[in-house]
Amino acid sequence: MQNLLSLLSNALCRITGRTAGAQTVSELLIGLSEYVSLTSPSAPDLAQTQRLPPKPPPVVALRASAALLASTSLAAAAARVVASRSSTDLTPQVTLDIKKCDLHCLEEGPPVKATLTREQGLQYYRTMQTVRRMELKADQLYKQKIIRGFCHLYDGQEACAAGVEAAITPSDHVITAYRAHAYTYTRGVAVKEILCELTGRRGGVSKGKGGSMHMYAPRFYGGNGIVGAQVPLGAGIALACQYQGNNQLCVTLYGDGAANQGQLFEAFNMAALWKLPCVFICENNQYSMGMSTERASASTDYYKRGDYIPGLRVDGMDVLCVREAVKFAADFCRAGKGPIVMELQTYRYHGHSMSDPGVSYRSREEVQEVRSKNDPIALLKEQMLSNNMASVEELKELDVTIRKEVEEAARFATADPEPPLDDMCNHIFKNDPPLEVRGTNPWSRLRSVS
């Protein structure tokens, strides 16, 4: 218990920046309570940029995650909701009609109405806008050759990441493919660390050793470079959830290209056989590299590809649609009914990666059309403005704040030094005594610690 206490208080010291450790349980609770009410992922900026006690944010919501903490005795006294300080004539909550999902092997689908509160709207907006700005910043840095290698950008698909995160809890698991920056962010990694990893600096989430496709966080298993390999991994994570009986599930994402990989069907088979709590989500952005869905797939109904596994086809440009569908799928899995396959119909504005201009296999007009008619952020903005849930100025201010934050993160990512050469051989094995690693020549004997 003493060790537990000291470890927890150490964690809190790092979070809060205070030098004294918690001496009593009540001090610990007070320290913890300041953080329970923060929303994620806006919290990272607060935690990093100051070593002062945090100021309460203007708009705070009690998220599902905080509710989870509230259920443990440690956080019981700490949960609080701060009422919105916006003007009284803004709508606090609205119920919107959303598109009906196409169903496969399902009697009923997700609801056709979604409730959106002002706080949720602002949060989704913030998440999507941060992802958008982060990806555009990455594009800029890549063109300046500050980022190198692979860089697969997610702009256009933000509603998928935001919707998925809104529908699951922080204790659930997520694994995706290489277009992973958005999920790295929604799973709790700060923009600063994502950009730092992209620029290959020591402040990166993988200390510069992973790169764009290999970023990890608790309950987020990357970032996987091999197309389709993450799908059996995701089924395995779901197996672990089932094994431990913890009512968690794994959201396993893949693209329309990976949908043709054999290992997917192997994973589907075992997931269905063993009723694994796995939500398989195909982010169909219409192109796998340069192959449009019609050119690559004999069947473009990706939601039916699970055959005996129930499927849903969802409008991936509407964050509420995605949220409701993933919630439906999560409930399905948690009820022990087995896996479910979802297809999110979405679109990417950029090419496959930074080395692809993205116009040799599709027309600029097509991209423009989606941008103007179907942009996920514009859609949410329109929904909020037309229902009087936020003012234009407020959203504009939010845009400016986010732009500044991303700018600051990029500045940091560019200035941060590269990883030291001493670190090059570390992290080969876990919990092993230090070992010797052969360098480029027989006299170069390098050292690796766990």
């Binding site: 204790s171 059996p232 992290h427």
Partner: protein
């Protein structure tokens, strides 16, 4: 098949332990008693086959740690394609011993994914910026860390030839992940199964993968020879927090070896990364792994009659290789012969020779090192061809004499 009542204190103690586990898992009483009699009731140094040693290791580790589970084709109801997992399904049930469909890539990926659900502790860094998650995440993470353990899967390949279909998951998803995540994501998994030549199974079922897997950083590759190796190394592999490729040998499964009392205890492990000198000698160092250690010992016995004393080193671990033991031996004997079943090019023997050249032992060599390997062809089927495709004792003797210039 119950053993006669034993009056030795140790056996009574073991019987008490067995009774305790019988009481805990009543319906498995019969199989436990039967198994106990099969393995543990004989006095002192028992004759235990490699298969039974592996079975013991699996049983003990499954019992010791709730997170350990076995998955693979036919491991459960069939009792294992080579009966290595006999009795385990009856004892531990569907949750811990999982039969999979014939989908190597799929189930290997699933095994690796299950191993990934092991949360690495966030260590404060020496570097100026620690990785920081949102405060909320970090708090949740710390709370959950203490209340949730990851899993420790054992992924069985019916033979390692089939692991080729899943090799992407072994290398890219398992081996490299701890490095790519800079220590955030560990993968404590064991991949095991028979490796190398069998009898009459021809080209597609006879390949040795030691060199293939040992090539990759991030993996530990282990190749036991006798029962003690098999049991101790498998236990170490399961307890290791890293991906371990455990290369068994089908022809060794049925071979009995004497196992000391100590080796039969539940906490007996053999450290990974340490070779063992099976036979002391002065004239030549023979380095081998798996089945060919036995061949080396046989060759050494024949040569002893001619006055040539061979030192036989059982590598036990291919990666990380215990080069120090080989060097120490070569500095004593001045001659080196490596013996393996795999193909010569880019193989285990090639690596040993290169390492000796790069180290202090080179100056002690009185002759170039010799590699005795499998013939550089796909494995043929006909018995006479197959027999001549792998190192025989006469080949080892011949090579030793050539190396000693006799």
């Amino acid at each position: 098949m119950l053993a006669p009542p034993s009056h030795r204190r140790k056996d009574r103690f073991k019987m008490a332990l067995s009774m305790k586990s019988v009481l805990r898992s009543g319906r498995n009483a019969v199989s436990i008693l039967r198994r106990r009699a099969f393995h543990r009731s004989a006095p002192a140094a028992a004759q235990v086959t490699v298969r039974d040693a592996l079975n013991q290791a699996l049983d003990e580790e499954l019992e010791r740690d709730e997170r350990v589970f076995l998955l693979g084709e036919e491991v459960a109801q069939y009792d294992g394609a080579y009966k290595v997992s006999r009795g385990l399904w009856k004892k531990y049930g569907d949750k811990r011993i999982i039969d999979t469909p014939i989908s190597e890539m799929g189930f290997t990926g699933i095994a690796v994914g299950a191993a990934m659900v092991s949360v690495s502790l966030y260590k404060p860094d020496d570097f100026h910026l620690t990785r920081k998650l949102s405060a909320q995440r970090e708090t949740i993470f710390f709370i959950f860390y203490f209340f949730q353990a990851g899993l420790r899967p054992i992924c069985e390949f019916m033979t390692f030839n089939f692991s080729m279909q899943a090799i992407d998951q072994v290398i890219n998803s398992a081996a490299k992940t701890y490095y790519m995540s800079a220590g955030l994501q560990a993968v404590p998994i064991v991949f095991r199964g028979p490796n190398g030549a069998s009898a009459g199974v021809a080209a597609q079922h006879s390949q040795c993968f030691a060199a293939w897997y040992a090539h990759c950083p991030g993996l530990k590759v282990v190749s036991p020879w006798n029962s003690e190796d098999a049991k101790g190394l498998l236990k170490s592999a399961i307890r290791d927090d890293n991906p371990v490729v455990f290369l068994e040998n089908e022809l060794m499964y049925g071979v009995p070896f004497e196992m000391s009392d100590e080796a039969q205890s539940k906490d007996f492990t053999v450290p990974i990364g340490k070779a063992k000198v099976e036979r002391q000698g002065t004239h030549v160092t023979l380095v081998s792994h798996s089945r060919y250690v036995g061949h080396c010992l046989d060759a050494a016995a024949v040569l002893a009659k001619e006055g040539i004393e061979c030192e036989v080193i059982n590598l036990r671990t291919i990666r990380p290789m215990d080069v120090e033991s080989i060097e120490a031996s070569v500095m004593k004997t001045n001659h080196l012969v490596t013996v393996e079943g795999g193909w010569p090019q880019f193989g285990v023997g090639a690596e040993i020779c290169a390492r000796i050249m790069e180290g202090p032992a080179f100056n002690y060599l009185d002759a170039p090192a010799t590699r005795v390997t499998g013939v550089d062809i796909p494995m043929p089927y006909a018995k006479i061809l197959e027999d001549n495709s792998v190192p025989q004792i006469k080949d080892i003797i011949f090579s030793i004499k050539k190396t000693l210039n006799m």
